[in-house]
């Protein structure tokens, strides 16, 4: 069996340059048997399978895709923090978008993520100096303080904080800066900020956690859109589509069903955070609950109520996601409350 190129346990670093789709495209263009079908495929529909196309055009596009099955392109992937991520994703979906399984199964994630998780060390004493005054055991506040104490985290957080502020909210820019934050900040800071535990009934902590991604600016609450419409809007933007495919693969496809693959839980949370800043931004449903959901409803779904519920429940009733979040919160409870006991 092929070695499992998966989270954390890959000893040798698969160099980012070779496996990605930009590189694969260069190789393909140098080989006429590959470049001809690929260049044709680029004219098909850049990234959306359900674009209304004339039947014979769809047939030729599928033919072109089949011809590329054994090329380096059909195996290429993209990386989270790579340069020109957008260009890479565009190439990926040029290959993969003709072969969807209907509109609700995006067939695998474009991202290959080598998660090298370094144990998280932070200076308890330095932190306690600021926490000593306050008796609050608000671990979400503590994770914010930890971010403030870290140059990069603080800078990235202020960057989105400014364009998401009430007096100057620019939804588009706010979403963009949120994406930059979750892409570039070290995973453990992002995890601590987003998956910090709150004691039952501590609605102040819960409200802080719910508002940390500035929902009132990033996704202003009009009346809830239908989840199917939201899903299709996401599919039209290949960054959102990529993050959704990533989420679907690592948080929802239970292989085999009913089981959450333990090793995926960290990767699932990364996929979850990847959606923050897109139209399908998930968030906590209230300030007293750790349940998450996407802000959409199934009103007006007609005969597609099941598909709509499927989308809704892949966030709000997803055992693997819920378990991954609970595990992460428990980890932070022990990590962050250690300093209280020593204070």
């Amino acid at each position: 069996l092929l070695p499992l190129l998966q989270a954390g346990d890959l000893s040798t670093m698969d160099s980012m340059a070779t496996g990605n789709c930009i590189h694969a495209r260069k190789l393909c263009l140098a080989d006429p048997t590959c470049s001809t079908p690929f260049l044709y495929l680029e004219t098909c529909f850049p990234f959306m399978a359900s674009a209304p196309q004339k039947p014979e055009k769809q047939e030729n596009c599928r033919e072109a895709a089949q011809q590329l099955k054994n090329s380096s392109l059909s195996n290429c992937r993209c990386y989270w923090r790579m340069k020109n991520q957008d260009a890479c994703l565009a190439i990926y979906w040029t290959i993969h978008s003709t072969l969807g399984f209907g509109d609700y199964d995006l067939g695998g994630s474009p991202y290959k993520e080598i998660v090298i998780s370094k144990p998280w060390k932070f200076n308890h004493l330095h932190l306690d100096k600021f926490e000593s005054g306050s008796q609050s055991h608000d671990l979400c506040l503590k994770s914010i303080t930890l971010c403030t104490l870290n140059d990069k985290c603080s800078k990235l957080r202020l960057a989105y904080g400014e364009v998401c502020s009430v007096a100057r909210c620019q939804p588009q820019k706010c979403q963009e800066e949120l994406r930059v934050f979750f892409e570039q900040v070290a995973d453990h800071y992002a995890n601590a900020l987003l998956f910090c535990p709150c004691d039952n009934g501590d609605d102040v902590c819960g409200a802080r956690r719910q508002n940390t991604i500035a929902p009132s600016c990033a996704s202003p609450m009009g009346d809830l859109p239908n989840c199917l419409i939201l899903w299709n809007t996401c599919l039209q933007d290949f960054l959102c589509r990529s993050r959704l495919a990533d989420f679907q693969m690592y948080c929802y496809h239970m292989d085999p069903p009913g089981t959450c693959v333990e090793r995926h839980s960290g990767r699932c949370l990364k996929a979850y955070m990847g959606l923050i800043g897109t139209v399908m931004t998930p968030n906590y449903i209230s300030n007293v609950s750790a349940e998450v959901a996407v802000s959409c409803s199934c009103q007006g779904s007609g005969n597609q109520l099941e598909e709509c519920k499927h989308i809704e429940e892949s966030f709000s009733r997803n055992p693997c996601l819920t378990k991954a979040i609970e595990t992460q919160m428990e980890f932070h409870r022990q990590l962050l409350s250690k300093s209280f006991s020593t204070a």
């Binding site: 914010i144 403030t148 202020l158 502020s165």
Partner: protein, 110 residues
């Protein structure tokens, strides 16, 4: 080195938002940067004379009606030459941004 530490430069202090005296209520910490330090190098004839007149008491400055001391400076002042905004979540979990709250660079001015 030691001399450089005295000269006008950027200092950082972690303060709680409600300590800023702007009326915002938040539990968050922010990085407050300000300028402090001496500006000896660029003094002019005017400064030297002014300092001497002040030191010798030759210049008596009328106290302003509203009380408080009158400000006379016999040297350039160490002040911010650039600012940056600071954002935080207040107690109602609304994101707020305060413009030009923190110094971004310092210089000897005047």
């Amino acid at each position: 080195g030691r001399r450089r530490a005295q000269e006008c430069h950027l200092h950082t202090e972690l303060v709680k938002v409600h300590e800023l005296g702007l009326g915002h209520d938040s539990d968050e910490l922010i990085r407050f940067q300000y300028c402090s330090g001496a500006c000896p190098k660029v003094r002019s004839n005017h400064d030297i004379s002014l300092a001497h007149l002040l030191r010798s008491g030759r210049l008596r400055l009328p106290a302003p009606p509203g009380g408080g001391s009158v400000r006379v400076l016999s040297h350039p002042c160490c002040r911010p030459t650039a600012y940056k905004a600071v954002s935080f979540m207040d107690v109602s979990n609304t994101w707020r941004t305060v413009d030009s709250l923190s110094a971004a660079a310092c210089g000897c001015l005047g």
